[in-house]
């Protein structure tokens, strides 16, 4: 086989350039949750802002020291005043959040009455993630042409599978609920205590943020809570394997899904279609195919 041979320095150069391009590509896709900007923009800003800071500090240093000295005179009085204001604001904030919770509760009751019905679209898993140790996804043979959209619930008659995260014309990518970056709303069926169900990346899930005073038994059924706005309420997810006390306020429950995702073939996409089939809590998932 003919081989292109380059000097070690040239090879290293190619690798470094490739890695920089890949880093830029990755940074472009990820949004920094703190700033709402792409990571590329954030990193560039964080890289260059210290220079700006140094220049600014150098010029403003002397003036700053002088201003601080003058400012200290009135600082104590201001401190007392600010503390009082802070206390008042805390009380206001508490009242506000109380009101928000009340609004949320009323809104949920209203939504419950006008619950969206779902149309079932049957599909088949045609491929799995090429790097299953780090992420858990599956590819299905239904896409945009079949009415599949992003963030559609994917289920089987046994329980929840995941959500669609990407759609092509004829295929779609499903993020399984066991994927490490998956989070859905779920609750303990018996007590209706809800939490956030996150994937662990090793075939199981964890139901987080359960109040510490709630008793969770091994084997208890976990169902969707409907609070994520994607899954309807009451779909089976799995059963509790063990519980872990996370802090003095919360505990979490390790959940084993009802089905082994590696053997799932047929799946059902739930598409909201007003006025066809109403899904009520604890009712079985509509399984009629298109």
């Amino acid at each position: 086989m003919e081989q292109v041979v380059l000097s070690p320095r040239t090879s290293l150069g190619i690798v470094v350039v490739s890695l920089f391009v890949l880093l830029a590509l990755m940074s472009y896709q990820v949004t920094d949750p703190e700033t709402g900007q792409t990571v590329l923009a954030s990193v560039a800003f964080r890289l260059f802002s210290p220079f700006q800071l140094v220049v600014s500090e150098a010029f403003g240093g002397v003036a700053g020291v002088f201003r601080n000295y003058i400012g200290l005179v009135g600082a104590n009085k201001e401190n007392v005043k600010l503390k009082r204001e802070l206390d008042e604001l805390k009380i206001q904030l508490e009242a506000q959040s109380q009101q928000n919770r009340e609004n949320e509760r009323l809104r949920r009751i209203l939504q419950f009455r006008e619950r969206l019905p779902y149309r079932a679209i049957a599909g088949e898993i045609i491929g799995r993630d090429p790097k299953p140790a780090m992420s858990e996804t599956a590819t299905a043979n239904r896409g945009g042409r079949h009415g599949i959209k992003r963030e559609m619930p994917v289920v089987t008659p046994e329980g929840v599978i995941g959500i669609t995260i990407l759609t092509g014309p004829f295929t779609s990518k499903i993020q399984l609920i066991t994927d490490a970056s998956s989070s859905i709303g779920a609750m303990i069926q018996s007590s209706r205590t809800s939490g956030i169900l996150s994937g662990t990346g090793n075939g199981r899930c964890v139901l987080k943020f359960l109040p510490i005073n709630v008793t969770v038994q091994k084997g208890e059924a976990i169902v969707t809570s409907g609070q994520d706005g994607i899954f309807p309420e009451g779909l089976p997810v799995g059963r509790v394997v063990r519980t872990v006390t996370e802090s003095e306020f919360y505990r979490s429950a390790e959940v084993e899904p009802y089905q082994d995702f590696s053997s799932v073939r047929e799946v059902i996409f739930l598409s909201p279609v007003p006025g066809v089939v109403a899904v009520k809590p604890s009712e079985p998932v509509p399984t009629q195919s298109k």
Binding site: S18, D32, D129, Q175
Partner: protein
């Protein structure tokens, strides 16, 4: 012809990896893309192996969950290091090859783990996953390399 063969290999690997291997509990740890990159890095020129790792990594990324570029990044680094090592040392002994594959697998996972943390994504990596992947890839890689090498030698002398 060479390009066609390489594209065909990537396609076959993608199909086997996504449609067959991931159905089995133990076989799902095998990363055929990584094994292909290590094999190329050991047997072909550095430029070819870096190019291949970059392309195959991007293919793997596009079928995987997460940020496109992570697998390409890790595989490019692994391919570069393995090819640099193989240009300086004679790596022929099966146990050394197995060890090299194991270390490369760990490095691949650790780079992806680091990138995921860097970009604020959850990473499921644990010592269990790392050791299982290194062991399974090491053994399966050794077997696959032996088979491929025999076919290659047979073809050369035919």
């Amino acid at each position: 012809m060479k390009l066609f063969k390489t594209l065909l290999t990537i396609t076959v690997i993608l199909l086997v990896q996504t449609m067959f291997l991931n159905r089995f509990q133990v076989l799902k740890w095998i990363d055929l893309f990584l094994l292909m990159n290590i094999y190329y890095a050991l047997n072909f020129s550095q430029v070819a192996s870096i190019g291949l790792s970059l392309c195959s990594g991007l293919v793997q990324d596009s079928f995987s969950q997460g940020v496109v570029g992570m697998n390409a990044f890790s595989k490019t680094v692994v391919a570069y290091l393995v090819s640099t090592l193989s240009s300086r040392l004679m790596i022929k002994h099966p146990l050394i090859i197995m060890l090299l594959i194991g270390i490369s697998t760990s490095l691949d996972f650790l780079i992806i783990h680091g990138l995921r943390l860097l970009f604020g994504l959850e990473s499921p990596l644990s010592y269990g996953i790392l050791s299982a992947a290194a062991l399974v890839n090491g053994v399966s890689g050794l077997v696959l390399f032996q088979i491929t090498e025999r076919i290659r030698v047979k073809k050369e002398y035919a």
